[in-house]
Every structure is written in structure tokens, then in C-alpha cells.
Amino acid sequence: MKTRILIVITIVIFSFISCKKFLVEKPYSFLTPTNFYKNAQDANAALNGVFSNMQAQAFYQRTVYVVSDNASDLIYAPAGSNTDRNALTSHTFTAVNGEITNWYVSNYKMIKNANDVIKYVPPISMDAASKADIVGNACFLRALGYFNLVTAFGQVPLILAPVSATDANLYPKKASLEAIYSQIITDLQYAEANCLAEKNIPAANKGRVSSGAASALLAKVYLTRAQSTAAVATDSQDALTECNKVIGDAGSYGLLPNYADIFSSDNKYNKEVVFAVRFGATPNVGNITLRMFYPSILGGYGSFLVQNNFFTNGFPAGSRDVRQTYSVSNQVVDSKGVHAVAPFIYKFRDSQWKKDNNSRTDWFVLRLAEVYLLQSEAMNNINSADPNKFNGLNTIRARAGLTLLTDQLNFTNTPTSDAFVDTLLNERARELCGEGQRRWDLLRLGKLKPAMAAVGVTVDDNHLLFPIPQSEQDVNPNL
């Protein structure tokens, strides 16, 4: 009897093997802080993670132009096709607009990833210059996020470190415009100082932030701040300085002689690109932009059309301006002949596109032509009587084929500063249409209302800035 009891007790005790080890969770398919941020490779992967987010449809694949060009006088979504997009064009959008929410959330996701890199990469023991480059890249992307937010929404929360479960920053208040711009500039200055010049970025890393990209974005930030309530007296001068740095770096950047070459997916990351969101064919994430812009006869969805006003009146030089025929079109040619279609943005091309959601088209955030235009804008701000302010504009016009003497802008055909601003905006529209710039240009230069009036849309003061998304207001009482 005793032995029997002993046997059973032994079995029972034997089965009480160490539970502690049994209950430890073993991660198989993901990284945790215990196995990450250990070396240079980890730092690089983390930086790639900041970039990665930009490839989302809700960010630089689609939302970028839904909230900008589509919310301007350039393009629109056909009536009834999509309530959110239509509301942006007609300026009847509300805080529940999904595209506005996308823009808000996507930028903050990028900022979150950048904050992680900026906090956790510095303690890694690795080559100091590479480390500073990586942190500089993250600083640039964080600045880009906040610049996107401040131009679209005005005052927003300023989060500069990873947020923990117990952090007060989980429920932040809005920061002042001054603080937001100041942080953007600080980050860009770090990036400018620590990122590589474009010419020094290895071929395999094309797409990383260059010091020139930081300069170009700084120029734009200064010019934007210059027109805001947070303006600082030196803003335009600082902008000009930054533009000159970029234009002066001929080793890194140059205007392509042929406008069409900029946009071909067979000529990616060419010398005109200052910073672009990269896309590629499978196994990379492709870009849905072609699908959205192209009419169905070319395999697209025709989700966005060019406003008739811009198509008809936007290119007064007609077909002499190569951008008219190349960038927008109301006809397509296929094997069966020429078909008339509603005008659409045609400038992005991919010879290998398979009429699916994925083209290889990169999305330009900054390209050199724009820096020339920013240079002109800065000069006009500093001294509207400066005749050099026409140089940048004329350089871009000449490249587009407007080479006649009468095509050149000067004080005769553009006498006032206000006329200059209108001309500049028109030129920006021709050069950069479909590149997600228009709304911000019109806002920065105070011309959104008249521009929209020309396409029959009345814009009230409540619709100059986007509202903070309703979902965000619902969960954060501090906003």
C-alpha cells in the first residue's frame, strides 16, 4: 500500500516540472527590444521602417494628392464617385472626412517611427558618421511629417519621443505654430549638417535623405513660415540661402533638358530629383497613381480628372509649352486609334506598367525645378524690385520650351509683386500639376479663395485649414 501511494506521489510531483520556464513567451516571428537596436544593421532597418510608411496608399501613394491637388483648382474626382474626395474639392469637408484622417494619421505614424530612431540609434555603438546620417534622415522625415501637418491643419500636437503607456504625451495639447516651425527647422538643420550630399549617396541607397533635400525643404519651410503668424524676419533670406545651396550643388543636381525625362520610370532618381518617395515593381510596393489618374481605356480607373478650367486656360502658350501636351491630355491613342477622354494627368509614365495597382512611379516630394521657383519666390519676398527674381521662373519656362523672347517674364509683363505671385502660382501649376503641391501653394500665397472661385467653389474661412479628425477629437479631450 505504501509503495503504491509513493508511486502516485512521485508521478504527481514529477509532473510538476518547472512552470516558470514553460510560461515564458518565446517570440518566433517578430523582433522585440531584447533583440533589436544592437548594431548598425539594426539602425539601418529601423530607418527603413520610417521610410516604409510613406509607401501606403493612405499617404504618398494616393492621399498626398487627394488632399492637395484634388482640394484645389487642378483636379477633382467625378461627381458621386467618392464622397470624401468630392467634399475636398467642393470645400464642404468635415472632420469625419476619411482622407483628412489618413493624412493626419499617416504623418503621425511616420513621426512615431522617426522618434524611435532618434531615441534608440544614438546609444548604438557604430560608425559615428553613419549614425549621424541615419539620425539625420530620421530628423528630416520627422520634419517633413510636421511640415505636412502644420500646412494642412495649423496647430497640432508636437510629439518628439516614443510615447509610453503612462506618458502625458499620450493625450497631448496642440503646440503653438512657433514651436512647431522651430522644431521643424531644428530637425532639418541637423539633417542638413549630417546627411550625405546627394552625389555621395551610394547607388544602393538612392532614396535616402541628402543634405540637399534638407536644404530644399528648409527653404520651403522658411517661405511658408514667412507667410504665417509665426513669421520670423529672416525667413525669406534664409530660404534664399538654402535654395542657393541646392542650385549651387551641380555635382548633385541639375535640370534635365527634356521635361518628359523627369517622369519616366525608366529614368528614376535622375539628377532633378531632390527627394522622392520610392516605389518599384514586385516584390516592392508599387504606386497606384497611374491607376488613379489614367482613364479606363488605358487601364486606369479615371478616379481623378483635370478641371476644365486648368486644361483650357492653364497653358496660354498652347502646345509650345511641352508641359501642356505631356502633363495633361484629353485624348489617348491606342492600336484602334485616337480616343477622346475627359482631361487627365498624364505626366507619370511607366513603360512596364501592367494596368494594375502597381506602377514603378516614384512620388516627387522635392525636385530641382521647384527649388528654382522657390528661389524666385524668396527673392520677390525680400525685394520685389529685384530683377533677378525672374531668373528661376524663366529657367523653368525655357526648359518647358517657352524660349521665345516674348515668353520671358520681366517687369514689363509682370509689373507688381501681386502679379508676380499670380504668375508664379500659374507657373507652379504648369510645372508641378499632379505633384501634390497646389493647395499648399495657394494657401501659402493667400490665393486659395480666388483660385477656387474660378472653378465655381466658394471657400469659407473655416475650410482653409483641415479640421483635426473627429476620431481624434473624440478620444483626446486636450485638443
Partner: protein, 1137 residues
């Protein structure tokens, strides 16, 4: 008369009472026990004291029987009526007193060989005669092992396997036939030599003696303290169901069953006593033959199920600790029975038809609609005006066009074949079954097929060791709608959306490629071409094996150890050919994935069972268990195929190889548990349980949880004062309190995780791997615990012809595993915390009544009724959380349709009120509104500020029903059995998102309700003008929220038992049946099916491995393009050999 009195006495005598309560398998023991008692009590030498004063002879004999604790055999007619007896005896031998009593009566007594005291006329000789006969039950089946006793003696016999007996008894004796679970019957032998007896089932004792499976053991129903509903295989046999989980529908009060849609094999959802949890799983724990954590019931064969027990209150579920909070469903499969080998064949076949079609516009109506729409659109946007799609002549000439619902759905066959073998000896028993089930879906090219083998073996080794083996191998294949790429998308929706103007086939006879005319309508592919030419199959293989050994090392102490594994493999293959619309963009797309899951369970228990002095009974078990789950999955895909011939079977020929994915997850649970049942005097019952669970899923500082429970029950009907109330045959009052847990949050939730993503870098556009933070870690993440209180009563009336169970419960779930929405300025949308509180309380009522019990006609009714009210008490200090999404149809941002609000139930719809249609501009101006025109919907301006925005939303309805009910009626007349089963819910709302898609806009065909759209002042106050987008752009509006109450005639089944001659050597039994399922639904709901929960599948996934578990848990009561339900007609046969 005599017979009756004697019978009653026998029945109420203490040892007989005892006898009746014994288990079947202890029959022999109890028989011996009875013999012993009789032999002791019956003695001719027993001394009796008796005082009789002028009593009748009958009374005198009766009193002597009482005092002497013995029985005499006599015929009442023999006793002289007028004889009065007076005598006084003190400690005299019984037989001496009998002698005195019988003096001068002309009577005498004899003592038979068996010790029977027989009173007879003086001089007569009582002969022994041999009586033979057969004992059968009321179904005509022979009963082996029936005890036959000669009344008043220890003599007796038992029936053989064929129910026959033979016994030698004195003439005039009375035989008592008794058998566990049957009413005893006494028969006066007289001079008969052949006595055949039909024993009737004793509903009262059978019910109390029914053995109910509880966690880690079994209990007699009469001894239960917890709230457990038991469904026996016999009930389940009556009507065929297609899946094991469907057996639960309407059978248990407090249990709500919903199928997410009508697709064969589609997931089902079960809620026991409401929704406890906001973000973790709410499904009960499924335990099959002791193996806990068996998720998928679709691979369990309904015909193999012996019984299902649903454990509802904490007393019953706390033994499952951390997994008990949502209730536990115990499934016991059939085991071999000792005795003759039996073979049975069940087969049925049938057809399914579409139960309901939705009313859509025909071609002519839709063309007119498009013209109307674009006329209004052009007026509103003259800058972007378009030409109207049709001329008036075209409109009228189009006719009815294509009925896409008719084209996509079919009459689909279903069939099921089951062959089983059952038998064995007392030492070794077996059950072996084969099943083939094949159900086509009513949507073309969809269906579910299952092949299954089950083998269960039990073996006794000596008296002390038992071992058992249960196993199941199954293979099932589900063909699903291949176009589904997300909830609410798929062919069911496309069929409703396609323009009726587009023909099914073009002039060449090929399927029309896509919807038209573009760009006036939405771009969809032909749904018929999609389901016919594309395919998506999921093949599931599963092995469920459990072995145990039990050793009784000291009498009353048993050690049991079991080891089980559940191995599953799922392979999904889908192919979209380039020739159809959805495959064109990719040039053909193939996708293949494999998921392998493996879980093992080791359990060791020590149990002790003993009764002391008939007063105390203890039944205790303690144990230890370890369980681990591991899942590995990978998937691969390719696009751009130059040929569609090979489909998924050669991904390498695709020009675009998609990034392959793989992942592995593991979680473990370690547990200690114990239970003590204590029964005092057979009427006071106590249960205490305790479980300690450690789960890998929780934070480092919070791995272990402790779950105690206690319960008391009082069998009031055992008390004298209630026993005297004849009408009450059973009354038990129970109360329990306990704490159970919930760990269904998915693995790795407490850890900080980095997600893997990619980016494109370099002149060659290389893909580089990126890593970014994916959540906010919570190292103190712990259990969600539910404290529940239950008080209930079981009442049996009129010999249990009516039995009633009522329960009241109150549950409070605290430390909710709550996905708290946080401002997205953090870069995250939510964090998982232990925060918040939810309460559920409810009332359950179930009644079974045998209304009519006649010779040839029986009518039994069962009614279940339950209410549950749910309330969110706290959410980490937040009063409101918006939850759920509505898919693409309302607003593209998927604005949350529901709200979690403190003080309100989970599943509260949140939105705007529809107040009619603006009729005139003057009306709009007077109301001070802008941005609307006559014909637009009037959205109620709750805050009265003239602007419609988020502040104008409020709770507009609830997804949870006020009550659920079911009624089952069974009629039997001779060999016919008719079952009518109806069930329903009352008082819930359904968000009909499908209706959003088909009332307004031009992307989809329209419901015929749009024919009465507003087209001028006074034309409609319910349907806005066709161009109005007010409702869909604003969010959820209450005119899309419909009453979801329904009453469904779920099953009507008529069976005929073919009389099989007793002499048949082949057939033992045979019956045929016809069944109609989903015969008719009474409802006001306008969609396909009020029993719908489009996001139900996601609800089930809560607790698996997704990183945002339970996010859809709250998406209750939405109907988005669901696969429609079918009506099924079945014809079947059952035969036993």
C-alpha cells in the same frame, strides 16, 4: 387494491429507494446489498411486540408486517371482514403472533423454501409454479438485467440479454419487476405461467440519475450544484443538423447561436449569458472528450456525439479557470457499449434552395433611375455635366433584363452517410464510425465536404486499471466564394450590385466581362463568371487523439493521467484567372497558404470518492495540467500567369512572385485545480472548486491567476414537508458564486513588438527590409476576471411531467483586456490594458412538459427563454469609445457605427436620426440649414446649432436582443414522430449596410424601394431623392437600422419507424424521415436573414494571433452583403443491424 398498497410500500421502503438511485453498472452490487438487508430483516425468529385492540384481521396482519419488517403473501379476498383481533404480545416470535392472529379465521400459514410466509386457507397446499416471460421497454426493446423479485422474500432472478426470465414461485405470489431508470411494476402471479411486462421509464428517477459530464469527471444530475444544461444524443438524433455547433441552437436557455452567414462551413458564434469582454474572445471553451481548447467544431461529426453539456455558472466553469468566463461546452463522443455488436447506417439526402430574394430594380427601372440620377447630378454640378446614359426609348425597351440573384444561386444538393459499429465485452469496448458529408452551397461553386473516421476504445485491465483511447481523423474541404477579399465584399454583394441591363452572357455565349455602362455605374466583374472560373478552396485535415489510463490504487482513490494531441493542417488555395474581371488586373493571381497547428495536453488527476454512513458523501478531485499550442503558417503567391491551366499548383510560372510570408506562434498554460463535492444526507450539496492558471500570454509580472468558486444546493423535495405535496416530484434550489477568467487576447500582447515592413531603395529599386514599432508594451498585462453569482431552482411537477429550471445570474467582469483607443498623435491607434468593467445579468427559464401521454399518442413540449442585459460600467475612465466599421458603403473612412458608453450595453449603435425628407427650400431656410436641397434627408440637428456634425449623434439602437427563445414540440403517434422546432430573438437592431449600398448612388443596382424616391414636394417623406447623398455621407442614420426580431420555424421533421419483426435476423430497427430546415421566418427585417453577423468570423478570431485582437468583437449586428441562407429539404433513413 392490495397490489397497489404493496407496490407503494416497496417503492418507498428505504432500501428500495436506495436501490433505485444506484447506477446501472453497480446493479449487481446493489442487488447483493438488497439481499443482505432483506435476509437480516426477515427472520422467523424475530421478536415483535404488538398491542392490538379490536382491529380487523387485515389491519392486524398489516401491523405485524410493519413491526416485524417482513411481508406475508396472501390474497385479500381470503381475509374474513368481520373478524376482530385483540391481543398483546411482548417480545414474542413473529410466527407465534401470526399463529395467534390466524386463530379462528380458517387460515393458516406456510413458510416456503425461499422463506416466504404464505397465508392460505387451512388445508390448502401452496404449489410452486414456473413463470416465464419477457420484459421490454415502452419502445419494444428487450431489457436485460431487470431484477425480478418475489415480493416479501429474498428470492429473485434477472432477465437475460434478450429480456427473458424464468422463475419458480409459489402460486399467488407477487412479482416485482424493477430496473434502474424505470418505474417498478408488481404483477400478481395467480396461476399464470407466462408474464410479459412492459416497463415504463421513470422520468423522475431517470432525470436525477442521469449522469452529467462535468469538468474532470461526471456527476449525477440530482447532485449538481451548478448551472449545467445537458443535451443528450437522443435529443440530437431526432433532427439532422449539418454541424456539431448547430446542435446548440435553441437547445439551451441563455445560449445565443448565430452563423455569420449562409455559406456552408461558415463560422458560427456562440454567446453564453451575454458578452463579457470588450476586446478579448467571447466564445465559450470547447472541450471534446476532455481535451480543452478545441476551437473548430465543424470537423466534429454530429452523429458521433453522445452528449453535449453546457456549463454556465461559475460553480461549473471555475474548474476551467482562466478559460471559463465565457462558459464551457463539453462534448462527449459515443463510446462502445458492452453487449451485442451493433451496426447502424444513417443516410440522408436533400436539396437547399434560396430562402429569400431581395427586390431589386429590373433593367428598365434601373435605366430610368440612372437617367434620373444624372439629371439631378448635372443640375447640381453644371461644370462637370455628363450626357444621360439612356434615351427614353431605350429605357422602355430594356424590359426586365438580368436577374443576377437568379443567375448566381442554385438549388443545391446535400447528403450525409454514416456507418457505425459499436459493441464489445465488459472488458473491452469499441465504437467505430465513418462519415461522409457533402453539402453544396446555394451559390454556384461553393460547398463543404467532410470525411471522418472515429475510433473509440475502452479496456479494463483487472479491476483496478482502466484505459481508454479516443481518436478522430477528419478531412474537410470548403469551397468558398473566391472573390471575397474582405468582409462585405464578394459575389453575394456584386450580384446585388450588377446592373440588370448587363446580360449574363454576351453575343458569343461567353460570360459578360464586367458591369456597364461605364462610367455611370460601379466597376464590377460578372459575379457568375467569378465564382465559376475562379476558385478558393480550404482543405482542413485534423487528428484529435486522446489516451488515458486510470488506476485505483486504494479503494476510493483513483489516479488518472491523460495525454492528448490536436493536430491540424489547413491549406488554402485560390486562383483568379486572367480571363475574369478580378483576375485581369493581375494577369491571373494564385495564392496558396498552409497553416499547421499543434497542441498537446497532459492532465493528471487524483480523485477520491466515498460515502460515510449514508449521511456524508465526498467526491474530490485534484489535478495538474500542462497545455501548449503552436501554430506555424506560411503563404506564397504569384501573379501574371501566361496560362490559367495550372492554377495554384505551380506558382513558379507566374511572372510576378509575391513576397512570401511565414510566422510561428506559441502559447502555454499550466494549471493546478481541485474540486470538492460534499453531499449531506442526500439533500444538502456543497461544491468548492479552485484553479490556478499560469498563461504565457500575460506580462512577466502577472502570469498566474486564481479562480475559486463555491456552490450550495438543497434538494428540498427530499424534505418530508415537500414530499407530502404530491404534485411536487422534484425541487432543488441552488446558489453559486465564483470567479473565472479570460485569456483570449492572442499571444505576445504584453511584449513590445517591432513590425517588419519594406522600402524601396537604390537605383535598381531593391526592396530593403524595414522595422518599426508596432505597439505600446504592457508588461503587467493580466487576466480578465468575471465574478458571477447564480441562483436557480429546478422543479419537477406531477411525476416530472413538467420540469422547470429557472436561473438568475449576475456577472461582473473586471480588469477587462481592453483595447483602449488613444490619440493617433502617438502613432498608434490603441493600447491593450487591464481596465474597465462590464456587467451582465439575466434570467433563464426552461420548461419541459409531457403534455399528452396516451397509448398511441405522445406530445412533449420544451420551451427555453432567456434574457440578458449588458452594461459597460467602466472603460479606464473614458466614457465613450467609438468602435467597429461599416465597410465601404456608408462613408469611405469607415466611421465607427457603434459606441461603447459607460452605462450602456456593448453593441450600441451610434449615429444620426432620420427625420424625413426636406420638401421645399422654404422648409430648409426656415430650419436655418445650409448644404442641403429639397429631396435630401432631414438629419436631426440634436444640438440645434444648424450644422450637422459629430455632435448630432446619439445611441440609436442596440444589437443585443432583449430576449431569445425557442420552442420544440414533439408529437408521436404510433410509429410516427413529428418534431417542430422554432426559435427566435426579440428586441435587437440590425445595421443593414447592404441597404446603404442599394439605396442611392450609382455604384450598384437599387432596391425597388428607390422607385418611390422623392421627386418633388409631397412625393415622399421616407426615401430621399435619388441623387441625395446626405445619409451615406454623414454616417450611420437610423433609417438603416432595422428591427432584427424574428421567429423562425427552424426544423420540421417527420419520422416513421418501420415495424421490424422481432424475428428479423438482419434488422434491429429502421426508420425513415423527412425534414425541412429553415421553413419560414417571421420578421420585419428586409435583408436576407435576420440571424446575421457579418463580422462574426472576426469575432471568432479574437484570441488567435492577430495583433489587434477583438477589434471586430464589437462589430455586432451588421449585415454587409452576406451570403444568403438556404431552406433545406431532407429525406433520410436510419437502420440498425
Amino acid at each position: 387494491m392490495k397490489k397497489k398498497i404493496l407496490h407503494n410500500k416497496v417503492f418507498s421502503a428505504p432500501h428500495y429507494r436506495k436501490f433505485l438511485l444506484m447506477f446501472n453498472w453497480t446493479f449487481v452490487l446493489s442487488f447483493l446489498f438488497c439481499l443482505e438487508v432483506s435476509a437480516n430483516s426477515y427472520s422467523q425468529n424475530v421478536k415483535v411486540s404488538l398491542d392490538l385492540k379490536d382491529v380487523t384481521l387485515k389491519k392486524a396482519i398489516y401491523l405485524l408486517e410493519q413491526k416485524g419488517k417482513t411481508r406475508f403473501l396472501y390474497s385479500e379476498q381470503l381475509l374474513p371482514q368481520n373478524t376482530k383481533i385483540t391481543l398483546s404480545a411482548k417480545d414474542e416470535p413473529l410466527l407465534g403472533i401470526l399463529n395467534k392472529i390466524l386463530e379462528n379465521t380458517g387460515l393458516d400459514y406456510q413458510v416456503s423454501d425461499a422463506g416466504l410466509v404464505m397465508i392460505a386457507l387451512k388445508g390448502s397446499v401452496i404449489k410452486n409454479i414456473t413463470v416465464k416471460g419477457t420484459v421490454i421497454d415502452d419502445k419494444g426493446q428487450p431489457l436485460p438485467g431487470v431484477s425480478i423479485k418475489v415480493l416479501g422474500t429474498s428470492a429473485g432472478t434477472v432477465t437475460s440479454a434478450s429480456g427473458e426470465y424464468q422463475i419458480s414461485v409459489p402460486e399467488g405470489a407477487t412479482l416485482v419487476f424493477s430496473y434502474i431508470g424505470f418505474l417498478s411494476q408488481s404483477v400478481e402471479v395467480g396461476t399464470k405461467t407466462q408474464i410479459d411486462v412492459t416497463l415504463k421509464i421513470d422520468e423522475a428517477s431517470q432525470k436525477l440519475n442521469e449522469v452529467v459530464v462535468v469538468g474532470y469527471g461526471t456527476q449525477r444530475k440530482g447532485d449538481l450544484t451548478g448551472s449545467i444544461a445537458s443535451i443528450s444524443g437522443k435529443d440530437l438524433d431526432k433532427t439532422p443538423v449539418l454541424g456539431a455547433d448547430q446542435m446548440l441552437q435553441g437547445r439551451v436557455s441563455g445560449l445565443q447561436f448565430t452563423q455569420s452567414d449562409g455559406q456552408p462551413g461558415s463560422p458560427t458564434s456562440v454567446r453564453i449569458r451575454g458578452t463579457n469582454s470588450i476586446n478579448s474572445g467571447n466564445e465559450p471553451l470547447y472541450v471534446v472528450d476532455g481535451f480543452a481548447g478545441v476551437g473548430n467544431l465543424s470537423s466534429i461529426n454530429p452523429s458521433d456525439i453522445q452528449s453535449i453539456e453546457v456549463l454556465k455558472d461559475a460553480s461549473a466553469t471555475a474548474i476551467y479557470g482562466s478559460r471559463g468566463a465565457n462558459g464551457v461546452v463539453l462534448i462527449t463522443t459515443k463510446k462502445g457499449k458492452a453487449g451485442q455488436d451493433a451496426i447502424s447506417i444513417d443516410a440522408y439526402t436533400g436539396v437547399q434552395t434560396m430562402a429569400k430574394k431581395l427586390g431589386l430594380m429590373n433593367a428598365s427601372q434601373f435605366a430610368q433611375y440612372l437617367d434620373d440620377y444624372f439629371t439631378q447630378a448635372n443640375a447640381a454640378n453644371p461644370n462637370t455635366a455628363v450626357a444621360l446614359p439612356y434615351t427614353q426609348a431605350q429605357v422602355t425597351g430594356l424590359g426586365t433584363g438580368t436577374d443576377w440573384q437568379k443567375a448566381l444561386y442554385r438549388v443545391a444538393p446535400v447528403q450525409n452517410y454514416q456507418l457505425s459499429f459499436n459493441g464489445g465485452t465488459q472488458k473491452a469496448r469499441y465504437y467505430l464510425s465513418f462519415n461522409h458529408f457533402d453539402q453544396d452551397g446555394i451559390m454556384l461553386n461553393t460547398g463543404f465536404r467532410r470525411e471522418l473516421v472515429r475510433l473509440n476504445l475502452d479496456r479494463n485491465i483487472g479491476d483496478k486499471i482502466k484505459m481508454g483511447f479516443s481518436s478522430q481523423l477528419s478531412y474537410s474541404k470548403q469551397a468558398v466564394d473566391p472573390t471575397i477579399t474582405g468582409v462585405g465584399y464578394g459575389s453575394a454583394g456584386v450580384a446585388l450590385s450588377m446592373s440588370p441591363i448587363v446580360p449574363l452572357r454576351d453575343t458569343t455565349g461567353a460570360y459578360t466581362f464586367q458591369n456597364g455602362p461605364l462610367p455611370y455605374v460601379g466597376t464590377y466583374g460578372n459575379p457568375v463568371a467569378a465564382v465559376v472560373d475562379a476558385n478558393d478552396n480550404i482543405a482542413n485535415s485534423r487528428a484529435l487523439i486522446n489516451v488515458f489510463g486510470e488506476y485505483e490504487f486504494i479503494k476510493g482513490f483513483k489516479f488518472k493521467s491523460s495525454f492528448g494531441i490536436d493536430y491540424g493542417n489547413a491549406i488554402e488555395k485560390s486562383y483568379l484567372p486572367s480571363t475574369i474581371y478580378i483576375g485581369q488586373a493581375t494577369g491571373g493571381a494564385a495564392y496558396s497558404s498552409t497553416s499547421t497547428s499543434y497542441s498537446w495536453l497532459n492532465e493528471n488527476t487524483l480523485s477520491f470518492s466515498k460515502e460515510f454512513n449514508n449521511i456524508h458523501a465526498i467526491d474530490a478531485v485534484v489535478g495538474f495540467s500542462l497545455q501548449q499550442f503552436k501554430t506555424s503558417a506560411y503563404s506564397a503567391g504569384a501573379q501574371n500567369f501566361f496560362t490559367d491551366n495550372l492554377g495554384t499548383d505551380n506558382l513558379a510560372i507566374g511572372a510576378n512572385i509575391l513576397t512570401p510570408l511565414s510566422n510561428t506562434y506559441q502559447n502555454s498554460i499550466a494549471s493546478y485545480f481541485g474540486r470538492l463535492n460534499y453531499r449531506l444526507m442526500g439533500k444538502y450539496l456543497f461544491t468548492f472548486t479552485m484553479r490556478a492558471d499560469g498563461s504565457s500570454r500575460f506580462g512577466l509580472t502577472n502570469k498566474w491567476g486564481y479562480f475559486p468558486s463555491g456552490a450550495v444546493a438543497w434538494r428540498a423535495s427530499e424534505e418530508k414537508f415537500i414530499k407530502n405535496i404530491q404534485q411536487i416530484s422534484d425541487l432543488k434550489i441552488r446558489a453559486s458564486y465564483g470567479v473565472t477568467g479570460n485569456q483570449e487576447i492572442g499571444s505576445y500582447q504584453s511584449l513590445s513588438q517591432y513590425a517588419i515592413n519594406g522600402y524601396t531603395l537604390g537605383t535598381n529599386m531593391s526592396r530593403v527590409v524595414g522595422v518599426s514599432p508596432n505597439n505600446i508594451a504592457n508588461p503587467s498585462l493580466g487576466w480578465e476576471s468575471t465574478a458571477s453569482f447564480d441562483v436557480s431552482a429546478d422543479l419537477g411537477l406531477f411525476h416530472n411531467r413538467i420540469s422547470i429550471t429557472v436561473d438568475y445570474y449576475h456577472k461582473t467582469t473586471t480588469n477587462l483586456l481592453l483595447n483602449v483607443s488613444i490619440p493617433q498623435s502617438s502613432g498608434f491607434s490603441s493600447i491593450l490594458l487591464n481596465a474597465g468593467k462590464v456587467a451582465n445579468q439575466g434570467f433563464e427559464f426552461s420548461l419541459t412538459s409531457r403534455n399528452i401521454e396516451a397509448k398511441n399518442f405522445n406530445w412533449t413540449s420544451t420551451l427555453n427563454f432567456s434574457t440578458n442585459s449588458n452594461k459597460v460600467l467602466d472603460m479606464n475612465g473614458t466614457n465613450n469609445i467609438l468602435v467597429g466599421s461599416t465597410g465601404p458603403y456608408i462613408v469611405t473612412n469607415g466611421l465607427a457605427p457603434s459606441i461603447l458608453r459607460v452605462g450602456q450595453p456593448i453593441g450600441s449603435f451610434y449615429g444620426y436620426h432620420f427625420d424625413g425628407v426636406w420638401q421645399t427650400q422654404e422648409q430648409i431656410t426656415a430650419a436655418g440649414r445650409t448644404g442641403v436641397v429639397p429631396g435630401d434627408a432631414i438629419i436631426r440637428d440634436l444640438d440645434g446649432n444648424g450644422i450637422i456634425n459629430g455632435n448630432d449623434r446619439e445611441i440609436i439602437g442596440h444589437a443585443a436582443p432583449k430576449f431569445i427563445f425557442s420552442i420544440n414540440n414533439t408529437f408521436s403517434y404510433k410509429n410516427f414522430d413529428l418534431t417542430i422546432f422554432a426559435q427566435g430573438v426579440e428586441g435587437n437592431k440590425i445595421l443593414n449596410v447592404t441597404k446603404y449600398a442599394h439605396t442611392g448612388g450609382t455604384t450598384a443596382n437599387e432596391f425597388t424601394s428607390m422607385l418611390s424616391a422623392w421627386h418633388g414636394p409631397g412625393t415622399s417623406n421616407t426615401v430621399p431623392r435619388v441623387f441625395s447623398s446626405t445619409e451615406r455621407s454623414v454616417g450611420v442614420v437610423d433609417n438603416y437600422l432595422e428591427n432584427g426580431s424574428y421567429l423562425r420555424i427552424q426544423t420540421v421533421s417527420l419520422a416513421y419507424k418501420i415495424p421490424v419483426p422481432q424475428t428479423s435476423r438482419v434488422f434491429k430497427s429502421a426508420s425513415i424521415f423527412v425534414t425541412v430546415q429553415n421553413l419560414y421566418t417571421f420578421t420585419k427585417y428586409t435583408g436576407y436573414n435576420p440571424e446575421v453577423n457579418t463580422y462574426g468570423a472576426q469575432n471568432l478570431n479574437a484570441g488567435t494571433q492577430n495583433l489587434n485582437p477583438g477589434s471586430q468583437n464589437l462589430n455586432i449586428g451588421a449585415d454587409i452583403n452576406s451570403y444568403p441562407p438556404s431552406r433545406t429539404f431532407l429525406l433520410g433513413v436510419k437502420a440498425g443491424f
